[in-house]
C-alpha cells in the first residue's frame, strides 16, 4: 500500500491509484473536465492540477500516480489561483455570447462548466471570448454538433472509440484551431455513426445534442385537427423524474402518463405493449430458426444503434438478425393500421409520437422501410423539457393509467429497458412456446447486470439447451461478433448499442452529480422492481396482445404479422 497525505489528510491507496482517485477516497473533490470514468486519461484540461511536495510544476491529479510520502495540496492558494485563471481561459474558449448563452443552451440545467464554476468559486472573467465561427453539423437525423460550444476535451472522441469501438470523431487542425470533427468533415450523418448518442452523454457542454422534435410535437398538440398519440419506452419511466430532481431509478410510470395527458395527447400508450408483441414475434422466429437450424445465432433487432452498427461493420451477418421490427416501429405500424381502424381516425390526422431513451430511434423512424409510421421521436430529455414548459412537475402528479388498447404490458416488457432484459423476456416465453409449460423460476439472473458480455445456458427440454449471449455497448458488441466469428456457439444473442442497455441510452437525462455506473445501477434496480411487482411477467400472458392476435393479426408469424411487424436491413459497409 502507498501512504501519502492529501490536504494534510493521511491516505492509504493501492499502487497505481491516481491522485484524483486517492482524493476521492477521502472525499476531496478535485474539479475535472476532460476526465471521465471508464475513458482513457487525456490530461488536457489541467483543471485537476495539484501541488505535490511544494514543487513549482503542478501535477494533473488524473494522470499522476500516488507515491509513498507524497504531500499533495489540492486547494492551496497557488492551485486555486491557477485554476481560476485557467477557468477564465476555458470560458473564453467556449464562445459565450448573445447567440451562445447559458439560458438558451440545451445543457442549461446539466452543464459541467457551470458545476466547475461553482466548485472552484469563480468570481471573475477578464477575457473576451474569441469567436470561432464554425458551422453546425446538421447532417444527422439524430445528433447535432455545435462546434463553437466545444472546448475540445475530446471526451466524445474517446467515448466513441473506446466504449463504442467505432471512432467517428477525430481532432483536426492544430493549436487554437484544433477542432473535433468527423472524417474529412463529412458530418455525423455521412460517416459510420450509429446515432447512439453516447457522445452527448459524455459532452460536458452543449456542443452535442439530439435533433429536436419538440417544436413539431408542440405544433401537432396545438393543432385541433390532429389526433396525437404517444408511446413511452420502458427505460423512460425510471429516468424521466431525474430532471425534476428525483433520484435516478425513481419509478414514475403513472406520473409520466398523467403529465402527457395534461400536455394534451389524445392517446397515451406504452411501447411495453409492443415489447410484449416483439417477444411473441421474435420468440416465435427464434423457436423456428433454432428447430430448423437456420441462420444461427439469431441476433436481436430492437436497438437501432446496434442495427446501424451491424449494417456498417458486419453486413455479412445481416441474415442473422431477427426480422422483427423494434417495439417502437411495431407500435408505429399498428398505430397507423390497427389503432386508426379501431378508433376510426383518419390517417391524415393521426400523429404518432415516441418518447425514447434513445437518439438512434430518431434515425430509425426515418428509415425508408419504416414508412413514417412514427412521426416524431422525443428523447427522455426532450419530454422532460416539454413537461416543464407546460408548468408541470412530474413529481407532484398522481399516477394515472395508460389508455387501454395498446397500454397494457407485462413485466417482461419492462425489462426490455435494461441489458439482458430482451433475452430474459424472450427466454420466459420461448420456454412456453416450445414446451407449452411455464418456467418455474422466471428470474434468469445470469443475463442481468452491468457485465459487458454475459452468457447463459438455459435447459429447455431433454433435446435442447439454449445457449444465449448478451452484449451491451458497441465495443462489447464487436467482441461478441468476433466470438461468434471464431466459432463460439450461440442460439440467440441480445445486442444493445448503449452501455447498460436503454437505461443508459443517449437520450436519457444527464446526471452531473453521479458517475455513469451509479446512475445505470439505480435505473436498472428501478426496472427490475417494476417487473417483480407485476402480476403478469411473461409476454405471452398479455391479454391485450392476445386480443390483438385474435382480432387482427391471426397468430405470431402470420402473413399479416409479417407485413406489419417485420422488416429488412441495408448492408452499408464502410464509406
Amino acid at each position: 500500500m502507498i501512504k501519502l497525505t492529501i490536504d494534510n489528510t493521511p491516505v492509504e491507496v493501492e499502487k497505481g491509484t491516481t491522485l484524483l482517485e486517492a482524493a476521492r477516497q477521502v472525499h476531496i473533490n478535485i474539479p475535472t473536465l476532460c476526465y471521465e470514468e471508464n475513458l482513457s486519461i487525456y490530461g488536457g484540461c489541467r483543471l485537476c492540477v495539484v501541488e505535490v511536495n511544494e514543487r513549482r510544476q503542478l501535477m494533473p491529479a488524473c494522470a499522476t500516480e500516488a507515491e509513498d510520502g507524497m504531500e499533495v495540496k489540492t486547494h492551496s492558494p497557488r492551485v486555486r489561483e491557477v485554476r481560476q485563471t485557467l477557468f477564465e481561459l476555458i470560458i473564453a474558449s467556449h464562445d459565450i455570447s448573445c447567440e451562445l448563452n447559458c439560458l438558451t443552451c440545451t445543457r442549461q440545467a446539466s452543464c459541467e462548466l457551470r458545476n466547475v464554476a461553482e466548485d472552484i468559486g469563480i468570481n471573475r472573467m477578464r477575457l473576451n471570448p474569441i469567436y470561432r465561427g464554425l458551422d453546425k453539423d446538421l447532417s444527422s437525423y439524430s445528433v447535432v454538433r455545435e462546434p463553437n460550444k466545444c472546448i475540445t476535451c475530446d471526451r466524445c472522441i474517446r467515448k466513441c472509440e473506446e466504449v463504442q469501438g467505432i471512432g467517428i470523431f477525430a481532432n483536426s487542425d492544430r493549436g487554437p484551431e484544433t477542432t473535433v470533427t468527423t472524417f474529412q468533415d463529412k458530418g455525423m450523418g455521412n460517416v459510420e455513426c450509429t446515432n447512439c448518442g453516447q457522445c452527448i452523454i459524455s459532452c460536458p457542454t452543449g456542443a452535442l445534442h439530439e435533433v429536436y422534435h419538440m417544436d413539431s410535437v408542440w405544433d401537432a398538440l396545438y393543432n385541433e385537427e390532429k389526433h396525437v398519440i404517444v408511446q413511452t419506452a420502458p427505460a423512460v419511466r425510471v429516468a424521466i423524474a431525474e430532471p425534476f430532481g428525483a433520484e435516478p431509478g425513481t419509478v414514475a410510470t403513472g406520473q409520466l402518463v398523467a403529465a402527457l395527458r395534461r400536455l394534451g395527447f389524445d392517446g397515451i400508450f406504452d411501447t411495453n405493449f409492443t415489447a410484449d408483441l416483439t417477444i411473441m414475434e421474435e420468440g416465435t422466429e427464434v423457436v423456428e430458426r433454432v428447430s430448423n437450424n437456420e441462420h444461427l445465432p439469431v441476433l436481436t433487432s430492437c436497438s437501432p444503434g446496434w442495427i446501424k452498427f451491424i449494417e456498417h461493420f458486419y453486413p455479412e451477418h445481416l441474415k442473422n438478425l431477427s426480422t422483427a421490427k423494434s417495439p417502437q416501429q411495431m407500435f408505429g405500424a399498428l398505430a397507423k393500421t390497427y389503432y386508426a381502424e379501431t378508433m376510426g381516425v383518419d390517417l391524415e390526422d393521426l400523429v404518432v409520437v415516441s418518447i425514447m431513451p434513445c437518439t438512434a430511434k430518431k434515425f430509425e423512424s426515418k428509415r425508408p422501410e419504416m414508412a413514417d409510421d412514427v412521426d416524431y421521436v422525443l428523447t427522455t430529455r426532450e419530454a422532460a423539457m416539454m413537461i416543464k414548459a407546460a408548468g408541470i412537475n412530474i413529481c407532484d402528479l398522481e399516477p394515472e393509467e395508460y389508455d387501454n388498447l395498446m397500454g397494457v404490458s407485462t413485466g417482461a416488457a419492462d425489462i426490455f429497458g435494461t441489458s439482458g432484459g430482451v433475452m430474459e423476456a424472450a427466454l420466459r416465453s420461448a420456454y412456453y412456446l416450445i414446451t407449452g409449460e411455464e418456467l418455474e423460476e422466471i428470474d434468469i439472473k445470469p443475463v442481468r447486470g452491468l457485465e459487458g458480455l454475459k452468457k447463459a445456458e438455459v435447459p429447455i427440454n431433454e433435446d435442447l439447451t439454449l445457449k444465449v449471449g448478451v452484449a451491451h455497448g458497441l465495443s462489447n458488441a464487436k467482441k461478441m461478433m468476433e466470438m461468434i466469428a471464431d466459432g463460439e456457439e450461440f442460439h440467440f444473442v441480445e445486442f444493445m448499442a448503449c452501455p447498460g442497455g436503454c437505461i443508459g441510452g443517449g437520450g436519457q437525462p444527464i446526471s452531473a452529480e453521479l458517475t455513469s455506473t451509479e446512475t445505470l445501477q439505480r435505473r436498472m434496480d428501478g426496472i427490475y422492481s417494476i417487473d417483480s411487482s407485476k402480476k403478469l411477467r411473461q409476454s405471452h400472458e398479455n391479454p391485450m396482445v392476445q386480443k390483438l392476435y385474435e382480432e387482427y393479426l391471426g397468430k405470431p408469424g402470420s402473413h399479416k404479422a409479417h407485413k406489419l411487424l417485420h422488416t429488412e436491413y441495408t448492408p452499408r459497409g464502410l464509406s
Binding site: 486519461i41 484540461c45 503542478l58 491557477v82 485557467l86 475540445t152 492544430r174 493549436g175 487554437p176 484544433t178
Partner: protein
Amino acid sequence: MVKERKFLKGPRLRDVSTYEFPGLKKALSLGPDRIIQQISDARLLGRGGAGFPTGTKWDLALQQQGERKYMICNADEGEPGTFKDRYLLEERPLKVLEGLMIGAYAVGATQGYIYIRGEYSEPIKIVREILEDAREEGILGEDIFGSGFDFDIKLVRGAGAYVCGDETSLINSIEGKRGISRIKPPYPIQEGLYGHPTVVNNVESLACAAEIIKQGAGEFAALGTDNSRGTKLISLSGDINISEVFEIEFGSCTLSEIIENLGGGVRRGRDPKFVIPGGLSTAALLPEELDCTYTYEGIESAGSSLGSGAIIVVGESRDLVDILLKVSRFYMDETCGTCFPCREGNKQINYMLSQHRNKKFSGQEVELIEDIGEVIAAAARCGLGQTSLSLINSIFNKFPEELIEEVIHVD
C-alpha cells in the same frame, strides 16, 4: 580575447568511405557498460535544451528489458534562433551518425531514426546520402565491424511542427500520429516508439558522445566548469555583425564577450536592447546582465537559462510591442492544442497583444498576462507550453517604463 575551443567543430566530414569511425570502433571494444561509464564520467548534459544527463538516460535505457529498443536522433531543430544542429548535419554528419550508433550499441537498440525538421532540405539530402553510403559500405546493417552488432537507421522528415522537437511528440509523429505530447510517465525510456524503450538524443549530444568515446571522458570533462562540462555550440544571431555557429568552452567567457569578440559587436550601436540567451523559450537579459559566464549555472544566476544555445541579440531600435507580438504569434501557431492552458493561453495573449499595437498596457492587462503566464508555466503538459511565456513575461518585467502605463495616484 575569446577564442573558440574546437571539440566538435572541424573540417567537413561527409565521406563514409574514407572515415574510420574511430569512436564507434572503440565503443564496440569497450562494451555497453564502459561506454555508459565514459559518458557519465564526462558529465555530458543533453544539448537540446532540457539538459538531462546523457549517461543517466543511456543507463536507464540499458536496464530496460524489452524485445526491442529504439534510438532516435532528434534533429527537429525548431527553437527560433537555433541553427547549430544544422551546422553539424551539414558539416560533421558522420560524427552524428557515429554518436547515434554508439548510443544504440550501448543501450541495445537495433533500429535507429533520424528525425529532421522538414525545412532542412540540405541536411536531409546529405544525411540520406550518408545513410545509403553507410549501408553500402557495411557500416550499417548486420554484424557491424565484425562485432555482432546489427543496426540500421531510418530517416524521417518532420512536417514543420515546433512541438515535434519535444521527444514524446516526435515519437507520435514517427508513428504517424498527431504531433502532440504524451503524458509522462511512462517516459520514452520505458515506453516510447511503438511502446518499446526508446532513447531520444539531440544531434549535438550525439556528436559530443562520439568525441567523448574517441578522445576519452577525461578530455571532455577537463573542459568547462564543475556543473557545465565540455564545450557548447552556440548559434549567434540577431542585430550583430557576425552571425554564425561558434563553439565555446563552458566558463571561458561571458555573454557580453561572446557578443563583442565573436559576434563583432552589436550592429549599428554599442549596447543591445536585450539579449535572449537560449532561444525563444528563455527569459531576456539586459545589457547590464550580460557579464555572467557562459555556463548553465552562470546564465541561471542571471535569471535566464542556456536553453539550446541560441543567442539572439536585439538592437536598440527594435519595437518591443512588435517583438512581443511576433513571439506570441509563434507560440500561438505552434502550440499543439492538446492542453488547455497552452492552447487557450497563447491564443488569448496573442489576441491581447494584437489589440494594443503602439499603445501602452494597463496594469490590469499586464496582471492578466502574468496570470496566464503563471497558469501556462505551472500547468501546461509539456516543455513547449511551460516555457512559452518566459520571454514575453521577462520583457514586461524588464521594460516597465516602455510598456506599462504609469499609474497616477491622486491623493
